[in-house]
């Protein structure tokens, strides 16, 4: 503007290191990100944006380098709009106070005061000197502590472990700052054992290399690479490969500043212990990498990651670690041998001593419920060998897969197995369920809780139980995560479903439902597990009856809980009545009173249980929706099918959704949708006072337990169709005999088309042939179009008008027998 170009602003790099005692490995990467984020935010407040930020973290330091910072912040001119010049003097005074200016510094622009405040640039060094203490004080450690003499007060600085030093250098200049007595400086420390004394850092440019010279690799990523590469080399030298474990690499990078992977071996005799146990002992207890030999089997060797270049090449370290590992593996082998001395059914007896939940009794109580439910699932024909593949090379394979019947063409329930087979399957399911939690009281699972199920499976096999039972014990927790397998073996499916259903039902009964982000009992995971098992194995079931069964089996626990105090009070009243010499009449009165209250409580409780069943069905429906949306199914189509309500069979429900998705993609589908919407709109406009059709019980849409309403909300023209409900089409329409007038051609054609399409759709729906149902509906498309083209619905003759509205209602209802098209977008 004045022709003089400003000199390019000088940019420089900034180094910050916060040195402290050992930061827990698990916190380091998050802390590194947090430091970069807080730093950026803090600088942004002064309008500073670094070119790039590099973060470093080791057990003893958190550091960052911010590139290309200007030496000062840009000057800012802020304009504030004030009161009108005609405003009372108080308003002007207030404005002057706010801006810190005097009246002659204001500008009068068209009768309004404006203040222009020029803020000169600040030295970046000053900004940093203020920002560093702010960042340190606000740092979001998951756990932090006080220390040292400053901790005389609880107001003293908190950090993850004692903070010892701050290095803050902009370019080559120290940024002087101080937090709780810790002064910034140029000095830091190198490796704890490889370098004694202080190191002087020049700035961002020499930081990483100076520390490397003192045996500290500041980059977490680089330490990870070193661990990965050197352990792979060490393994290869022995003909082994390292079992990949990124989490363990990161953990070891978080425990070392100078990682040195070392390979040691252990006695191959320990390999008789299940490989899962050995792996966990190595990984969890010792943070060692697990190795495989050329055949893929677990190798009798390990890799530990030392933090030093040992004087003896690591011989003493390997020897020490071998000894520690041998002691650990001896313990594991002892547990393995000890646990097998007791049969699972005897272990299971100890579950009586473990509380499952205060209000839900012991684990033994839960097992009892699960066992009954698993048996019931088989006896009811819900879990059969037919719909499922029998997995495993069962020695005791009692079920012949050749007997499996093709159930796809049959109605979903019941689906009986021959009685003998069903009884055998039920017995296996009950047996597996009774043993499925027994490993929780074994020494091994006490030591490694993550082996629950797996150890039970081993112990079951070791005592010669049928493979189907051992597999079910091993796999009944599945699927655990998104990528986890879904069990398909029938015994496993029965136990797994029963366990999860019981968990959900029990916690709902005691009113421990998941809310918002809180789901302490992992009920959502259980629900997803149930849904995945049903969908992936094609188990056909009526959810409401299963939920009813699960709730009623879980309920007595709570009934006792709610009624016991009442019963105790009752007893004590009776006793008091006795000792205090109440008249017999008085006593009777008191007791009657308590009887009434107890009875009322029971009724209330039963009502609550009934509503819990509804809540559980809603809960499962919601999970299904979430799951299907994640799988890419259009959510409006899911809603359209869910809006029908009353659908209990997830397999059928999804078949409907899938058919609908294909149908709406066709021309016929799109046009029928358009015709439907037109009909629905007219109905809505003409009969706004009546609620939109609500079929069944509207589950999944939050309206529950309402009585079924007639589906046709406009009075039908003839009595025969009155009360035509739900999914059934009205069957009365023989010709046009019900009409009091002669229908127009298009009107008659639509009636005729409906007369044909309705039963066809109904039949197809009943046979679960949803493509067929859609095809039948598609035949309505042309007659509907013609009807709208040539027939006036809103005829002055009320009889015609009523009849035509009823006809449109038939169209709508016919479409609703497949899905609620009003929910479909477009």
């Amino acid at each position: 503007m004045d022709g003089i170009e400003r000199v390019d602003r000088v940019m420089t790099d900034f180094l910050l290191e916060l040195r402290c005692e050992e930061i827990p490995a698990r916190m380091q990467l998050k802390a590194s990100d947090d430091l970069a984020r807080l730093f950026t935010e803090e600088l942004a407040k002064s309008g500073l944006t670094p070119g790039a930020i590099e973060s470093f973290v080791t057990p003893r330091r958190l550091a960052l380098i911010a590139r290309d910072l200007p030496l000062e912040t840009a000057a800012v001119s802020e304009e504030h709009k004030g009161p009108r010049t005609s405003a009372p003097p108080q308003a002007l005074e207030g404005f002057l106070r706010k801006t810190g200016l005097t009246q002659d510094q204001l500008e009068d622009r068209d009768g309004i005061w404006f203040a222009v405040v020029n803020k000169p640039g600040r030295a970046t060094a000053d900004v940093l000197a203020q920002a560093i203490p702010a960042i340190i004080r606000a740092f979001p450690w998951p756990k932090s502590m006080r220390w040292g003499s400053a901790s005389q007060t609880t107001e003293s600085l908190r950090w993850v472990r004692p903070l010892q030093g701050i290095v803050a250098i902009l370019g080559e200049d120290l940024i002087p700052c101080e937090v709780d007595g810790i002064q910034s400086g140029y000095a830091t420390l190198g490796h704890r054992f490889h370098h004694s004394g202080e190191i002087t850092i020049g700035g961002a440019s020499d930081y990483a290399e100076k520390l490397r010279a003192c045996h500290v690799i500041v980059s977490h990523q680089e330490r990870q690479s070193i661990i990965a590469e050197k352990s792979a080399q060490a393994a290869a030298a022995h003909g082994y490969t390292v079992v990949e474990d990124k989490g363990l690499i990161a953990e070891n990078a978080g425990l070392t500043e100078w990682p040195v992977p070392l390979l040691g071996d252990f006695d191959p005799a320990f390999l008789e212990v299940p490989p899962e146990v050995i792996q966990l002992t190595l990984r969890i207890n010792q943070k060692y990498f697990v190795l495989r030999d050329a055949t893929g089997k677990l190798a009798p060797a390990f890799i530990c990651t030392a933090n030093i270049e040992a004087k003896d090449g690591g011989a003493a370290i390997i020897a020490g670690n071998r000894k520690v590992l041998a002691a650990r593996l001896s313990d594991a082998r002892f547990f393995w041998e000890q646990d097998r001395k007791t049969r699972l059914e005897d272990h299971a007896k100890k579950l009586e001593r473990i509380t499952f939940h205060d209000k839900l009794g012991t684990v033994a109580d839960k097992v009892e419920r699960v066992a009954k439910l698993a048996r019931w699932l088989v006896e009811e024909g819900i879990v059969t060998s037919g719909t499922l593949s029998l997995e495993g090379e069962g020695r005791e394979r009692v079920l012949d897969a050749n007997d499996a019947r093709d159930t796809s063409a049959e109605p979903p329930l019941p689906n009986p197995l021959p009685t003998g087979e069903r009884e055998q399957l039920a017995t296996l399911a009950e047996q597996a369920a009774r043993l499925c939690k027994a490993d929780l009281v074994t020494e091994m699972v006490g030591e490694f809780p993550e082996l629950q199920g797996i150890m039970g499976g081993y112990y079951a096999r070791a005592e010669g139980l049928p493979d189907a039972v051992a597999d079910a014990i091993r796999d009944h927790y599945k699927p655990v995560g998104q990528g986890d397998d879904v069990p398909t073996a029938p015994v496993t499916v029965a136990v797994s479903l029963a366990d999860k259903l019981d968990t959900i039902a029990s916690f709902f009964v005691i009113d421990e439902k998941p809310t918002g982000s809180k789901d302490p009992f992992a009920l959502r995971r259980a629900a997803i597990g149930i849904i995945r098992i049903i969908l992936e194995t094609g188990v056909r079931l009526c959810l409401s009856s299963i939920v009813n069964k699960a709730v009623s089996s879980a309920a007595p626990v709570d009934a006792t809980m709610t009624l016991t105090p009442l019963a105790q009070t009752y007893a004590s009243i009776a006793e008091a009545a006795g000792t205090q010499g109440l008249s017999e009449a008085g006593e009777t009165k008191i007791l009657e009173n308590w009887d009434r209250r107890a009875a009322a409580a029971t009724v209330e409780y039963e009502q609550r249980l009934a509503s819990e069943e509804g809540y559980i069905l809603d809960f499962l429906a919601d999970r299904l929706k979430v799951q299907q949306r994640e799988a890419g199914v259009r959510h409006d189509l899911i809603d359209a099918v869910f809006a029908l309500g009353g659908e209990d069979d997830l397999v059928r429900l999804l078949a409907r959704v899938h058919a609908l998705q294909s149908f709406v993609a066709t021309d016929d589908g799109a046009n029928l949708l358009a015709g439907y919407k037109r009909a629905a709109n007219i109905l809505k406009k003409e009969a706004p006072q009546t609620p939109s059709p609500q079929r069944g019980e509207g589950r999944g849409e939050g309206e529950r337990g309402e009585a079924e309403r007639p589906a046709i909300d406009v009075a039908p023209p003839h009595p025969t169709s009155e009360g035509g409900t739900g999914l059934l089409p009205t069957l009365e329409g023989e010709g046009n005999s019900g009409l009091s007038y002669t229908p127009e051609i298009a009107e008659a054609a639509l009636i005729a088309a409906l007369d044909v399409a309705e039963p066809r759709t109904a039949q197809a729906v009943a046979a679960e042939d949803f493509e067929g149902a859609m095809a039948a509906l598609a035949t309505l498309r042309a007659p509907i179009d013609a009807f709208f083209e040539s027939v006036t619905v809103n005829d002055p003759d009320p009889a015609k008008r009523t009849a035509r509205l009823a006809l449109l209602a038939r169209v709508r209802d016919a479409v609703h027998s497949v899905a609620d098209f009003s929910k479909i977008a477009g």
Partner: protein, 290 residues
């Protein structure tokens, strides 16, 4: 390990005493009551409270009745020794002091891999918690290192640093033996087994089989009653001893297997109330506020 001449068990203790004595610690003798850990010694529990500086080191026999193995397991004992150091306020170089003690007992940190691995400490019984590490030497936990944040439910002002060495484990490592009973107790041919094997056998039997549970239950009640008396009469140190007694009696009842899961929580709550109540009374009698 065992390079050069390794320290005997008693020399290990004497070396640590000399070392920590030089750092200004009062070298105390063990507390003369059964406790489950060195932290229960009033020199730690009660001295961790209040503003006064305090540096002490001592050996504390620790009794864990359920860990008894009749002398048959080479690593597990119902009676073993902890070496305990408490420094309040925690000195800025406490880690270096600790590492210096390892060098003193013969562990060269350029030959052995020493690591500070996250291990936070919590004692619900004492209403106490702290942050710190377990210290690993070649993959073995040899010490616990804790910065006390709360004791008896009170914030520590200032914070004390606590070090606990497992003496038998450390000695086994230094001497390179696989069984605790094979440890050289001194350099004159006496082993740890000579001193303690019979003790382990008999005490395991008493803990698990013989101890009269009716009496134990009664003792527990008596301790509670006596604790109440002590509190009411303004002698919190004596009250704390009753809490310690009750705690050990509860541990014995556990070993006898007569406490159900449900009762367990209740007993622990009673011990906690006694311990915390003693700390509270101790704070009050010293005129310290939370």
């Amino acid at each position: 390990m065992a390079e050069g001449k390794a320290l005997s068990f008693q020399d290990l203790i004497l070396t640590l005493h000399a070392y920590w004595g030089k750092q200004g610690c009062v070298i105390l003798q063990p507390y003369d009551m059964e406790v489950g850990a060195g932290t229960f010694h009033p020199a730690t529990t009660l001295r961790a409270l209040g503003p006064k500086p305090w540096n002490a080191a001592y050996v504390q026999p620790s009794r864990r009745p359920t860990d008894g193995r009749y002398g048959e397991n080479p690593n597990r004992l119902q009676h073993y020794y902890q070496y305990q150091v408490i420094m309040k306020p925690s000195p800025a170089n406490l880690q270096d002091l600790y590492l210096g003690s390892l060098v003193e007992i013969g562990i060269d940190p350029l030959v052995h891999d020493i690591r500070f691995v996250e291990d936070d400490w919590e004692s619900p019984t004492l209403g106490a918690w702290g942050l710190g590490w377990e210290v690993w030497c070649d993959g073995m936990e040899v010490s616990q290192f804790t910065y006390f944040q709360q004791m008896g439910g009170y914030d520590c002002k200032p914070v004390a640093g606590e070090l606990t060495y497992g003496l038998e484990r450390l000695a086994m490592y230094i001497q390179g033996v696989d069984s605790v009973y094979d440890l050289k107790f001194n350099d004159a041919g006496v082993t740890y087994g000579d001193v303690f094997l019979e003790n382990e056998k008999q005490m395991s039997k008493w803990n698990f089989e013989v101890a009269d549970t009716e009496k134990l239950f009664r003792w527990f009640k008596d301790c509670q009653a006596e604790w109440r008396q002590c509190i009411d009469n303004g002698v919190p140190l004596a009250a704390f001893e009753q809490a310690i007694k009750a705690s050990h009696t509860f541990n014995l009842l556990q070993a006898r297997g007569v406490i159900s899961v449900q009762e367990r929580a209740s007993y622990m709550g009673q011990v906690r109330d006694m311990a915390k109540g003693s700390c509270e009374a101790w704070m009050e009698s010293n005129g310290w506020t939370a």
